[in-house]
Symmetry: C2
């Protein structure tokens, strides 16, 4: 039996609720599979870690994450920990991303089930068939460039951040995008988003994306959209962006959240943040093998419904599926989970019981969704 170590970071707010259900799903996979074993261990992270230890990312948590085969996270933050205070839960998240070198954030955005079209804010004719994988560069740009706070010498009334990119940083994220595009048959189109008509960092971005793909993946289709235009297209005709969208950190933050409302509920969508710099040689291999992977639902800690047991666990369960696929190389278990989720959402062959959480107009509890997915599985 092959054994994998999975660190679980429930975090704050609804994090523990939703993570508990994904853990059940992983335990079922572990218990029923003849060839693998998953060893799950919980660690403190985020606001709850600040309360317990004074810092959002305790050294022991970071260490465990470094040693693990994969990490499953809930969500961090909440009104209890103010944006203005010195120690904030997000610092833990940014520290973990940087500490593990998680430079590739992957966010699929599609309809897990067509039965969800009615929950989309977009007209069904506009939203239907949206199938975008957003690849966001996660440890560069304005998030990690040199910064100056208000009040510091020499110009106390000025503050700045630096949007900075180097050629290798853009090369490696381009290769991840290319590999994900190649995982599909036929390969997906790549849409690169930048603001090259204004920003120097975007001109570097565009040049490196073009050259990397031309040299290493000449078979892939590539186009470029300015970020302002992309934010329109994402609403007006999202299918035009079907395929792989690749962009820098801050644009990716904005566009991936914009995209995430299309499928009707934030509660449904998973994400993966991966480390491991593919060399040109790796890039030619059919699979992208991350050295570290952090998996989390895209929604926040939703303090308003925390502890009520009504949060939608599906985004976290689908994140666990991505964990199996990308970090553990267990695609068949990932697919099994995705199929079970779809079945529950389609609500077919399972007795017509309206099995949906409040975000999808239902009244099911978090645990009931978990129960049903485990049962179908």
């Amino acid at each position: 039996k092959k054994s994998f170590r999975v660190v679980v970071l429930p975090g704050d707010g609804i994090g523990p609720d939703v993570v508990a259900q994904a853990v059940r799903v992983l335990e079922v996979v572990s218990a029923t599979s003849p060839d693998i074993e998953l060893k799950l261990e919980e660690h403190l992270f985020g606001g709850c870690a600040i309360d317990a230890t004074g810092v959002p990312l305790p050294e022991s948590t970071l260490q465990a994450c470094k040693e693990a085969d994969a990490i499953l996270m809930g969500s961090v933050g909440g009104p209890k920990w103010d944006v203005n205070s010195k120690v904030r839960p997000e610092q833990g998240l940014l520290g973990l991303r940087k500490g593990l070198g998680l430079y590739a954030n992957i966010r699929p955005c599609n309809f897990a089930s067509d039965s969800l079209l009615s929950y989309s804010p977009l007209k069904a004719s506009v939203a239907q068939g949206t199938d975008i994988i957003i690849i966001r560069e996660l440890i560069g740009g304005a998030y990690f460039g040199e910064r100056k706070e208000l009040g510091q010498a020499e110009q106390p009334d000025v503050a700045y951040d630096t949007m900075i990119y180097s050629i290798p940083e853009v090369q490696r994220i381009t290769r991840v995008a290319a590999q994900i595009a190649l995982n599909a048959d036929p390969p997906l189109a790549i849409h690169s988003i930048d603001k090259a008509n204004v920003l120097a960092s975007s001109r570097l971005w565009r040049k490196v994306v073009v050259e990397t793909l031309q040299n290493e993946y000449p078979q892939l289709k590539l186009d470029h959209t300015l970020v302002d235009s992309a934010s329109m297209v994402m609403v007006a005709s999202p299918r035009k962006l079907n395929g792989v969208v690749v962009t820098e950190n801050l644009f990716g933050d904005i566009l991936s959240d914009e995209a995430s409302v299309i499928p009707g509920s934030l509660g449904l969508l998973p994400s993966a943040s991966l480390a491991g710099a593919p060399s040109v040689a790796d890039a030619l291999s059919p699979e992208f093998k991350p050295t570290h992977g952090l998996y989390e639902p895209i929604h926040g800690s939703a303090p308003d419904i925390a502890g009520k047991g009504i949060a939608n666990p599906i985004g976290t369960i689908l994140s666990a599926a991505l964990l199996l696929r990308y970090s553990l190389g267990l695609d068949k278990y990932a697919q099994a989970i995705e199929k079970a989720v779809q079945k529950v959402l389609d609500n077919q062959d399972i007795g017509g019981f309206e099995l949906r959480t409040a975000d999808l107009g239902g009244s099911a509890k978090t645990t009931e969704i978990g129960d049903k997915i485990v049962e179908v599985l």
Copy 2:
């Protein structure tokens, strides 16, 4: 008779087509009004200026704009002038903004007529009642901070831009937002958008917005939304942002374009870019009086339909209305134009002729829309 000098910059692509109709409307106002006279003069700007003079913003054009009471623009750019070439049409636009100090970009986003709801990509129930005025800071942030291109010493494989703001820059744009909010009865709510959980420039932004409003406009309602969250809300429930949205340059670029697709056609929306730093004293006056004002539709130069005579001139005609309101203080003429546009869009009392351009599913020519608006006026 009071006389005003208005500089007209038709620009590229469909710019000349749509500007011609707005000019007709302004000429009707000038000819029929007993108390004012508008002197219109055309100048070269954008790609056509590059072709004619080698630069997108000739000195004579900048000079005329500085001396004018207001500027009406079409649109600039097109595939003919490459993003990678040294001289680009957008540089003219950025140069004009900076040269005139046009720091406040104002973009109303609403349904000129409820009959347009069916053109929105959003469900009618989501889109209806959207009524947002976006105030974008236009000459600060990453657009004008220090930048380094790829290939330059000392680190030739790195490029960066600097998102930089000073206290006075944020104060003055906050005051514009406040004055626009106060122009409505009851005053509008102010939604400030930033990324204060990550960026130092956003922490400065938030602090200055809070303090300026607390000190000078304590009666106004203010809330804060992170830019990623705002980009979701704009799609999922845009009415939550009804009122005044105020944000920095790059976020404003992205969010205003995102918002602009809600009303169904980009061809309908006007914008104003204003200069003139209101002091605290000005700020208490009921009206914001810009020293310079540039008015343009929000759409681009649409090279695919340029010269076909089918572009929608309404965004430009509504821009002319804003010109009358903000720069010339002629609110009653602005209202008359806005009413005429609404009537044509509502298609009432004008014979049932389907008076719409192709972007709204009709087959009317640019000039026919102009004819009808002039007639109704």
